[in-house]
């Protein structure tokens, strides 16, 4: 399970972020003491840090600059300021992404998973049970038989695969699709999922995608 450290001084926002991340299947910890944040950042065994720019007594940009001298753990900056200069500064100090408040939660989650994916050293081929998933070819291969997925189906399958065994909401799937310039509607999503089911069944995975009423889908 990926660990995420939250550094945000607004307590309500911090707690809600923690809940959001935990619900999504991350292990979330938050900094509650704002003295000596840098050492807490360095001491934490974490895969990703969410760092607010406005912090008591210090600011996120300075922290990031100091932190980068010693570690290259991915950092996503959070801010309520909408000045472009913050973004440029953060990026030049080595932030991996930059999100302004208030953020669409699904976009935040997408960015987090994108950063984690980008920084994951193991670029080995993705596997689904004993089938090989190739996003380059856009296909799934099992025992020599290959199923070609459309772009939309691939986006859906990859998101489900990333969070295999967990519920992925339609909302999250939709946001991921839109993020890839596929502005599809609800019906089209249902159609895509049923086609994907069909293709998985062809490969010998019937009922691979389970529907959870009013919640979403789970890839088994």
């Amino acid at each position: 399970m990926k660990r995420i450290l939250i550094i945000e001084d607004d307590t309500v926002l911090r707690d809600e972020l923690t809940i959001l991340l935990q619900n999504t299947g991350y292990e979330a910890a938050a900094v509650t003491q704002y003295q000596d944040i840098l050492n807490q950042m360095l001491a934490a065994q974490t895969d990703l840090i969410l760092l607010d720019i406005n912090l008591p007594e210090t600011n996120g940009e300075t922290l990031l600059q100091e932190f980068r001298k010693q570690r290259d753990t991915p950092v996503i900056m959070l801010t309520s300021r909408t000045a472009e200069i913050d973004e440029v500064l953060s990026m030049s100090f080595g932030a991996d992404d930059f999100i302004t408040k208030p953020y669409n939660p699904t976009i935040l989650l997408l960015r987090i998973s994108a950063v984690l994916k980008r920084t994951a050293k193991t670029a080995a081929a993705q596997m689904y049970h004993d089938a090989e998933v190739s996003s380059v070819k856009g296909s799934i291969t099992r025992n020599g038989s290959e199923q070609v997925l459309t772009k939309n189906e691939m986006i859906i399958f990859q998101l489900l695969l990333e969070r295999q065994g967990e519920i992925v909401t339609r909302d999250a799937l939709m946001t991921a699709l839109w993020d890839n310039d596929e502005f599809i509607n609800d019906n089209a999503l249902s159609v895509n999922i049923s086609r994907l089911r069909g293709k998985l069944a062809e490969l010998g995975f019937p009922n691979a995608i389970e529907t959870r009423k009013k919640q979403g889908y789970v890839l088994k």
């Binding site: 809940i19 909408t82 208030p102 839109w178 993020d179 310039d181």
Partner: protein
């Protein structure tokens, strides 16, 4: 200054002069002064008077003509008092003194309002940043509890807050933007995701064409403008939005087209004006008349141009042109 005007102005003085001269003549003749002496005295008197008047006329003409000329040449009329110099005659000095004083007092007043204005704007910006915290918290709460109903309303609140921020900033955008190469596709997609729920609820389909172009602009402001246009399309009954870009060597032209109710031809020239609501604003949905006004303001500040085409009942198309001249290309 014309001579006739000058003479008209001095008429009373001349009248008194002539009267005194006539009285003098009567006086001299009653004392039987020689006619030659009277003539010589009169001529001398008249010549002296004429020279004095001519001199007076010329120096006033010189001063006031220069003053009026400067006034018509000046771009900022209030700077006149700086140009007036030190006149040679008393009236002119009084005038320049008065102008200097009134100008000073006006500058103080303007400074006062300018400070108050910028204080207010700073406060608004600060307030916007503060209010975004609870809004962000509420959005996360809604998401964590799966409450879509509240999330929709929050989205609206957030949109209105953005509006305030951008309006407060649009006046002096130069302080607050960062021009760099921006992918039209990226910005449009982000805006679409932000508005996804509402777009889907209304069954609006989006399509993009050739949006791969990069333009020199500020990403956040462009995103805000797309948001405004999208909101308008949703308000005015569109069910399809098509965005296309055309890349030429001189400029990138973006066309944001929807198939909504369109804009009456008579309203079309005014839609970018402040507080203009037009027929659609009255009959369809509450309109503040600010959205497109802010869009045009931002476009002007960023050096883009914006125009609209529409056929009522068929479509509305907003056309934004992003220049590619040296001024914008900083690479």
């Amino acid at each position: 200054m014309k001579l006739t005007e000058f003479i008209k102005d001095r008429f009373t003085a001349y009248l008194i002069f002539v009267l005194t001269w006539v009285l003098m003549l009567i006086f001299l003749f009653t004392f039987h002064v020689q006619t030659e002496a009277v003539v010589i005295a009169s001529v001398l008197l008249w010549i002296g008077r004429c020279i004095a008047e001519a001199w007076e006329f010329l120096r006033k003409k010189q001063f006031y003509d220069k003053l009026l000329h400067d006034l018509s040449e000046l771009d900022q009329k209030y700077l006149l008092s700086e140009m007036i110099g030190e006149p040679e005659f008393r009236e002119g000095r009084i005038l320049s003194e008065v102008m200097r004083e009134t100008n000073k007092s006006m500058c103080e007043q303007i400074g006062l309002h300018r400070r108050a204005n910028s204080d207010f704007r700073e406060y608004i910006e600060l307030w916007v940043h503060e209010i975004k915290l609870p809004v962000a918290s509420l959005q996360l709460m809604c998401h964590n509890d799966g409450n879509v109903k509240y999330a929709e309303q929050l989205k609206r609140i957030d949109d209105y807050i953005e509006n305030v921020l951008y309006y407060a900033r649009s006046r002096n955008a130069e302080k607050d933007y960062l021009i760099k190469p921006v992918s039209l596709k990226r910005v449009f997609t982000d805006t679409a995701i932000r508005n996804r729920e509402e777009l889907q609820q209304r069954g609006i389909s989006l399509s993009t064409e050739k949006l791969d172009a990069e333009v020199m602009t500020d990403a956040k402001w462009l995103g805000f403008m797309f948001g405004q246009l999208m909101n308008n399309s949703m308000k005015y009954g569109a069910d399809a939005i098509t965005v296309t870009a055309e890349d030429t060597p001189e400029a990138t032209v973006l066309r944001f087209r929807d198939n909504g109710i369109g804009i009456p031809e008579s309203d079309l020239p005014c839609i970018f004006e402040k507080s203009f609501t037009g027929e659609n604003g009255r009959t369809h949905s509450k309109s503040t008349g600010m959205g497109l006004y802010i869009v045009r303001q931002l476009c002007e500040k960023l050096g883009h141009s914006v125009a609209a085409e529409s056929v009522q009942g068929e479509y509305t198309e907003i056309i934004m042109t992003f220049g590619k001249n040296d001024l914008h290309d900083v690479r």
